[in-house]
């Protein structure tokens, strides 16, 4: 009898805990439903319609938006631009972030230096764009003048008006602006590596490179995976900097998919078509991330 009563209490306790857990996650679930799941589903639905900002009603048009997108002769060019922009930006950010993290980890760097190194991350995109346009102006830009002096640029030419170099400028600016995030994460990870491992390696006569290769790098692997995924997603969808500096030019050589989406939404007001481009971009990112994670796990095994 007593045992049954105790069991009953135990069941009640578990039920209450489960109920409490459910109640606690309700706000998060609601948030995700309203701000993530609903917009994503609605976006996918819109991509199969002729929805436009100029008319309230729309109708189902099956795959017409996707057919239009894949028959757009400039779509492949924009995909290529997106890949170049994302790949080089992410590689650059991770390498620069890691290099500086190693530097500030090794030296006795104070909070002041670390805060200073974080400044690019808090520079507003608009200010950065204006400064970039100023220093690369063909008439009075200091960077253009340097490049011209080195024979790398025509007289009174701007690197932003030359295909190839416009993208290079954007990538460099983006790397400069975004490296503090990987730097900070790498630095935090480096701090967590057991110092005894380095002492042991030192005793065994391992050199700097061997220590880095065999101790530091393996410890940074998981961090790198997470950083790479985050930076790929953020960079591929990063719109402001390109739009403000080149507007996608010259000749569309810096137009990437987010600019194409913006043009479809607020240029020709074709919401349905814009949704189809964002679905393709979303799928593309999803595939990239899954492929990257799978590949890394496979390598681990």
């Amino acid at each position: 009898m007593e045992r049954a009563r105790l069991m009953g209490h135990k069941r009640d306790y578990h039920t209450q805990r489960q109920l409490l857990g459910i109640i606690f996650i309700i706000p998060t679930v609601l948030f995700l439903l309203v701000f993530v799941i609903y917009p994503v589903i609605y976006n996918v639905i819109l991509s199969f319609t002729d929805a436009r900002l100029m008319k309230p009603d729309f109708s189902f048009i099956a795959f017409d938006n996707y057919k239009k997108l894949f028959s757009n002769m400039r779509f492949l060019k924009y995909v290529k631009n997106t890949l170049i922009w994302t790949f080089f930006s992410v590689i650059g950010q991770l390498l620069l972030g890691l290099s500086i993290a190693l530097l500030i980890n090794k030296k006795k760097s104070g909070t002041g230096l670390r805060s200073f190194l974080l400044i690019p991350y808090v520079v507003p995109a608009v200010a950065l764009a204006l400064v970039t346009k100023w220093v690369t102006n063909g008439d009075y830009g200091i960077v253009s003048w340097w490049l011209n002096s080195l024979g790398l640029l025509e007289y009174r030419q701007s690197p932003l008006a030359v295909p190839g170099s416009a993208m290079a400028v954007l990538i460099i600016v983006n790397i400069w602006r975004s490296y503090p995030f990987p730097m900070l994460i790498y630095w935090a990870t480096l701090k967590g590596i057991d110092k005894e491992l380095y002492d042991a390696a030192n005793v065994d006569g391992a050199g700097t490179f061997q220590t880095f290769w065999n101790i530091t790098l393996p410890h940074l692997k998981n961090t790198t995976i997470v950083l790479a995924i985050l930076r790929i997603v953020w960079t591929a969808t990063y719109f402001d900097l390109i739009w403000l500096i080149t507007g996608g030019g010259p000749a569309g050589t810096t137009t990437h998919l987010p600019i194409m989406i913006y043009q479809a939404s607020f240029g020709t007001f074709q919401t349905g078509y814009a949704s189809s481009i964002s679905v393709v971009l979303g799928l593309f990112l999803f595939i990239c991330v899954v492929f990257y994670v799978k590949k890394t796990i496979a390598n681990d095994r």
Partner: protein, 448 residues
Amino acid sequence: MFKKMVVLVLLLVVGAMVFAGGNSEDTVVEEKDTSQKIVIWTNLTADAQAVVLRKQFTEVAQEMDVDFEMVTISFGDMYTKLATAVESGTVPDIMHTNFSGTAYLYSQDMLSPMDDVIADLGKDDFIASYLHVLNAEGKTWGLPDWALHTSVWYRKDLFEKYDIDIPTDWDEFMAAAEKLTIDNDGDGKTDIYGFPVALNATHVAAQTFYEFLYSAGVTTVDPETGEYTFGSQKETAEEVLDYMMELYHNVSPKSSIEWAWSEYRNALVEGTVAMTLDMGAVILMSQSNNPEMLENLGCFDLPGPDGHKAASFGSGYAFVASNSGDSDQIKLKKEFLTRLYTKERAAERALSRPMFAFPSLYSAVATYRDDPKVALFGEQIDTITDAFENNNWYWYGMENGLSQLSSQIESTTFFGETLQSVALGMESTEDAIEYIDQQLQEQVALIQ
């Protein structure tokens, strides 16, 4: 303890939902209580313009004993803001916007016709071509405020020094630009370029192209019937583009394919180009950056290919009133606008951007001319007002009056991307015109 926690969390969730859902209701009630408040949006093109508008709105609001709220919107954000406002039903009571913005709001059925206000103010006092552009379905959907006209702004001192007459056709224009592409110190580097072909993809490329197209008689739609005509004029359009590219390769800085308004204006003011297409804003820039250049600046109309110029590219601003609210509210908005149209106020608004903006009332033009800010430019004012009164001038896509097509041309970059591709040798003229035609046809189909 457990029950208290459950109750607390539930209260938080329900509270959040109530607040989120109840917000719009509160706004409606508040709006009803403040029905005498007029919300005005204006596209901010210059600080001086916003200062004058705010001053005049304050004066009129005091005269009428109403409140107003002025919101300035940067030009780059205009369509994004308008589209979301239309979607959410929060269009302002009055908007001060360009003709494309007016066309967009008209296409959304958001505007009140202004014919009664125009009649009250005296239709004959409005410059007729300003009214034409705001016309659709036999009604005028905005009160023209000021207009701007594209001219070739040039260095009078250089024309004099090199003994160059004002060009009267495209061959002469090319010859003048070549003569003005100068290497002053003989170091093999060009110090002054004859004419920059500004092709920044956002706005500027299409504006440059259309000035040349209109000069050669090519239009997007027929000015009389509104039928799409660009497709049947592709051959002429190709010739126009070839001419522009010849200018670009011979007499223009290479970086001009990325130049927007500020770059080409600055180049003329700083003396690194001898001529440029502009709507007169070079004057304000010269006044602030290089006042010594002011007396050297003059303007003439870009000639037609063989001397005859079919039309010019121009634009302007208008006040529009939304059709939301009951008849009393619409009357209130119209009264507010009527009070803004004294000749002094109309001139003052245009003078907030001297030589860029020209008032829409004949009576205000006289006041405008007498102002010290434009005293130096009597001759240029004659050239420009003559063009407004005696020539055809259009805004892209609005050759037959208000059309949504203009906002789609303005807010997209396909013109810029295509023209830049030709300039960089990545695309042929023929392919570029074909692509532009295809894109324009698609835009036309979208608005039908």
